[in-house]
Symmetry: C2
Subunit: 297 residues, 2 copies
């Protein structure tokens, strides 16, 4: 049971040519023990997001092979889209799941980064929890200037890559590789049709509004439900557990005499996120993943 | 992902001869894809409980092979212990886990029962959710008279077995096989040292006291914690979710001005039991096992 399982969510700068996306995704399909969870392409963004999970070593291999294929097939000199991008393979995040720690993912990102730099001649910036300095933590900071600007940007010694050559790949640009927490998308519906209530709550609780770290939030009216919604991304569910988000919104909603009608979890969630919050409500001081019988298999 | 996973918790009537217990457990160890979760022997009871999980078909095979070994090695004519028993292999419960239904386990119990009756010449009583009549649902009713009494008991046509010969096996007796829900052992600690409070709450909420079905409860003082405990078995966590037990105890404790200090989950728990209760507190109308990323593997 000591198999370390992690997730990888590479983004490639191709969201229009289906055959290219499929060839990249095939690299994941062809590795045994890897499970392709999802992939989706946005033609406007001209970008695809691929999600797969598996044992640490296999995920590293899958990430490398997918990067290799993207470098081979995608030429950023001819790529246009609304999403900012700096590389054919733009970003490779590693996310800890069962039995794996953030440290494991940081190490995985460094190993894959080293190999990508060496074998693909692609400059690599370690980002998020893998970043070696504060100004490389956030993706938009690294990506600034995009593919076209990197010839100039890399002349600045502050932007020497962590791995690979000190000049951009002529067609594939550069890539960011790093370890981050699983991103939880969670919505709370409120018993009102007053959109301003949801917006004010969102404004008050999100990091950018001076609220909670790790929280992105916006308020909007959901016509078909006849309710407003506080729509949220939780960037680190370990530091900001779901129960705290729920109870924070409940507390703020009271100011307007409004209550929580229901909630909604978008997509997937790590079991630990559920355990953390169940343990809070159940007043369990200690609830470990290895108490979940299905995870014993 | 459509592999049906179930649990099996056979009880054998041997808790003293370690070599015999090991030989029985080896039958599980030797089948690939089966995961031995736990086994423990009680010398006073002279009984061992073995817990294993795996894919439905493999679990059926494991249960049969373990029964065969127990019939071969354990002679109830020479067995004494404080726990009532009617067979060398006394009871074989099947429990649904991921992707498996109670119906799957009922069918598994019937198939294993048929094979045990035919190949081992052991009379089989289907019990719990597999029982064909009301008086065969509960184990103590079936087991009444124990090994020694079954020659007489089986003369009564009401005790004709569901499978196998209509007379007890000379050394291995008879066996009960059936499908049941996972048993959750859950304790709630109260902020008082007044044992009577825990006892009165337990008395009020348990099935035998006129309280909730599927609930066994007793109250006791836990010296080392300086608290009292309501100690519970939840026999069907689908029909009696954990959150209802917690909130029921909280409600009853209010009568005594007492609150819940902490709770405790003993051993393992199916992920669905956690999801059910998390969904209640989070007001999630819908939270499915296939939203848990680790269960995708």
């Amino acid at each position: 049971m000591e198999i370390k399982t992690i997730e990888c969510v590479p983004n490639i700068s191709e969201g229009r040519e289906k055959s290219i996306v499929e060839k990249c995704v095939d690299e994941i399909r062809s590795i045994s023990d890897l499970k392709l969870i999802d992939y989706s392409s946005d033609p406007d963004h001209n970008r695809s997001v691929i999600t797969f999970i598996g044992p640490l070593e296999k995920v590293k291999e899958g990430a490398f092979q997918l990067a290799k294929k993207a470098v081979e097939l995608i030429d950023l000199n001819h790529q246009k889209g609304t999403h900012p991008r700096m590389g054919a393979i733009d970003v490779i995040p590693f996310v800890p799941l069962t039995n794996a720690t953030m440290e494991d993912c940081i190490q995985a990102s460094a190993e894959v980064g080293e190999r990508v730099g060496r074998e693909l001649s692609l400059p690599v910036y370690l980002y998020a929890n893998s970043a070696k300095s504060e100004d490389r933590k956030k993706l938009p900071t690294i990506r600034k200037g995009e593919f076209e600007g990197f010839d100039e940007k890399m002349k600045d010694p502050r932007w020497t890559p962590d791995f690979g050559p000190n000049c951009k790949h002529p067609s594939a640009g550069v890539v960011a590789i790093g370890a981050r927490e699983f991103l939880v998308a969670f919505n709370i519906y409120l018993d009102t049709i007053n959109e301003a209530v949801a917006q004010q709550i969102a404004q008050g609780i999100r990091e950018s509004g001076g609220g909670h770290r790790w929280l992105q939030a916006k308020g909007m009216l959901i016509q078909e439900k006849n309710m407003v919604q506080v729509s949220m991304n939780i960037l680190d569910f370990q530091k900001l557990p779901l129960y705290r988000v729920i109870e924070l919104v409940r507390l703020e909603a009271k100011r307007y005499g409004v209550s929580i009608k229901e909630t909604e979890l978008i997509g997937l969630i790590p079991v630990q996120a559920v355990l953390n919050s169940f343990a809070y409500y159940a007043q369990l001081p200690d609830l470990k993943q290895d108490q979940i019988i299905e995870l014993k298999l």
